[in-house]
């Protein structure tokens, strides 16, 4: 049973057991426009909640992606190197960015759930 939470910077984090998968939301992907390059963190890198973890480049501009929660990177989505457009096509699925281990349950629980995130986006 997996659970998904959201940040006010439009990242999503899905917790499956003790592995968390992170990506950007559909709202973020649509705002960025066509993604042409994603710079991903290397496996083994420690990230902190709210810290810079990745960079996404659209035709227009570069944007930082922040870790929704702290942890250690165990895998980056290498498919995005050849096909960065997956971020636009399936941002909350195949367009995931990286996976973390050791995510604090407390940090995760503080993030917005789907209903709260929807309310947040509707208010923008």
């Amino acid at each position: 049973m997996s659970e998904v939470r959201y940040t006010d910077q439009h990242e999503w984090i899905r917790l499956d057991g003790d592995t968390a998968t992170i990506g950007i939301t559909k709202y973020a992907a649509e705002s960025l426009g066509d993604v042409v390059f994603v710079e991903l963190p290397a496996a083994g890198k420690a990230v902190t909640a709210g810290g810079e973890a990745a960079v996404v480049e659209s035709v227009k501009a570069a944007s930082d992606i922040y870790a929704p929660a702290g942890g250690t990177v165990v895998e980056a989505n290498s498919a995005l190197e050849a096909a960065p457009s997956k971020v636009n096509e399936d941002p909350e699925g195949e367009g995931w960015f990286f996976k973390l281990k050791g995510v604090s349950k407390d940090e995760f629980a503080e993030l917005m759930d789907e209903a709260a995130y929807k309310t947040f986006v509707d208010g923008l």
Binding site: G33, D34, V36, F37, E39, E57, V59
Partner: protein, 364 residues
């Protein structure tokens, strides 16, 4: 700047209707893209035809002793033939670039028709009027709209609304009727593609734009693709690649100075500009990999010494690769010189490259 009142072009309602994502640009609310997105809009323009609203640009007519315009530009104005348009630089008293602009001499007309950049238009017009000091009279036409129809199918699409217009060749200009509206049409543009620019009364713009968009080949194109198209074409964006700190020699725009003007050296800082020893040069840059370097990225030589700066950088959809232009020390400006672009503190391997990055397809 949040309480700045933004102006709208006559196509504002059409942009909204087409789903344009409106952003502030040069004091106007302009579409950065439509629902198709920048990549598709860019590629469509290179494959078929794109329609751009460039009504925010500054249009004006110059009457009187029009050759007096040579006081503010090193371009050949007096010798411009009827029916021709030309690119020129507006120079400061120090010989740096105040703006770049187009000027036209319409057949049988005494006035010159000018188009300057949107963000600089008020200042340009005030500067020109001041320097001409009554010898010629400049009349800004903020009421006029300007459309650009660009791409390999532009001629066929425009011909259906303006029979005979495709007889124009690159840099020619004439008065014509487009979809029933009186217009000034030139075979010019800023994408590197064949295409046209159409100046018309603001009141006619919406109807003419809709008529052109009704053609199967034509898609509306926003500012995002306009920028990626001009960058691939190696064309300068004023305020970024050229400004009041750069001169025509540094900017590799000496070709825009008329032969007679070069001989007469009758423009600001002519000796310095024509002296053959610019302190830096504008170059094209291609990077390895897919990470783009943006405006402001430093350019380093292979020993790590900073030799210049990127002034325009992004992703070139037609090349499916990043492209950039910037300024480097003249000794490092040769095609093929290996350099690093500093992106997020890391060196991105790159090399000085010829421009245009995508060949121009003007109809000569």
């Amino acid at each position: 700047m949040t309480d700045e009142i933004l102006r709208r072009t006559p196509l504002y309602a059409l942009h909204l209707e087409l789903g344009g994502k409106m952003v502030p640009f040069a004091g106007y609310e302009m579409p950065v893209q439509y629902p198709a997105g920048i990549l598709k809009e860019h590629l469509h323009t290179r494959e078929k035809a794109g329609l751009f609203d460039v009504s925010h640009m500054g249009q004006a007519f110059l009457a009187g002793d029009t050759a007096a315009l040579e006081r503010v530009t090193p371009a050949e104005v007096a010798g411009l033939k009827e029916g021709m348009q030309r690119y020129g630089l507006l120079l400061t008293d120090q010989g740096t670039i105040k703006d770049d602009f187009m000027f036209s001499r319409l057949a049988g007309e005494a006035e010159l028709y000018l188009v300057v950049n949107a963000g600089t238009k008020e200042a340009d017009f005030a500067f020109i009027a001041d320097r001409l000091n009554g010898a010629a009279t400049l009349t800004p036409r903020f009421d006029r709209a300007l459309l650009a129809l660009q791409g390999p199918a532009a001629a066929a699409a425009l011909e259906r609304h303006s029979p005979g217009i495709s007889a124009l060749t690159f840099m020619q200009v004439k008065r014509a009727t487009v979809a029933g509206a009186p217009a000034i049409v030139s075979r010019t543009g800023y994408t590197g593609e064949d295409g046209f620019e159409i100046s018309l009364a603001g009141a006619d713009a919406d109807r003419v734009a809709r008529a052109l968009l009704g053609e199967a080949e034509v898609m509306p194109i926003g500012l995002g693709a306009r920028d990626s198209l001009r960058l691939e074409a190696g064309l300068c964006l004023y305020g970024h690649d050229i400004d009041e700190t750069t001169d025509p020699a540094q900017a590799a725009l000496l070709w825009s100075i008329g032969k007679r003007r070069k001989e007469a050296r009758d423009f600001p800082a002519a000796e310095k500009i024509l002296g053959g020893a610019p302190t830096r040069k504008r170059v094209g840059i291609r990077t390895e990999g897919r990470a783009p370097a943006r405006e402001g990225a430093e350019i380093a030589d292979k020993s790590g010494r900073i030799i210049g700066i990127v002034t325009s950088g992004g992703f070139g959809p037609s090349l499916n690769a990043p492209v950039a232009m910037g300024y480097v020390e003249p000794a490092c400006a040769a095609i093929g010189t290996p350099v690093d672009l500093m992106v997020r503190g890391k060196p991105l391997p790159a090399a000085i490259a010829p421009m245009p990055f995508v060949p121009h397809t003007y109809r000569r």
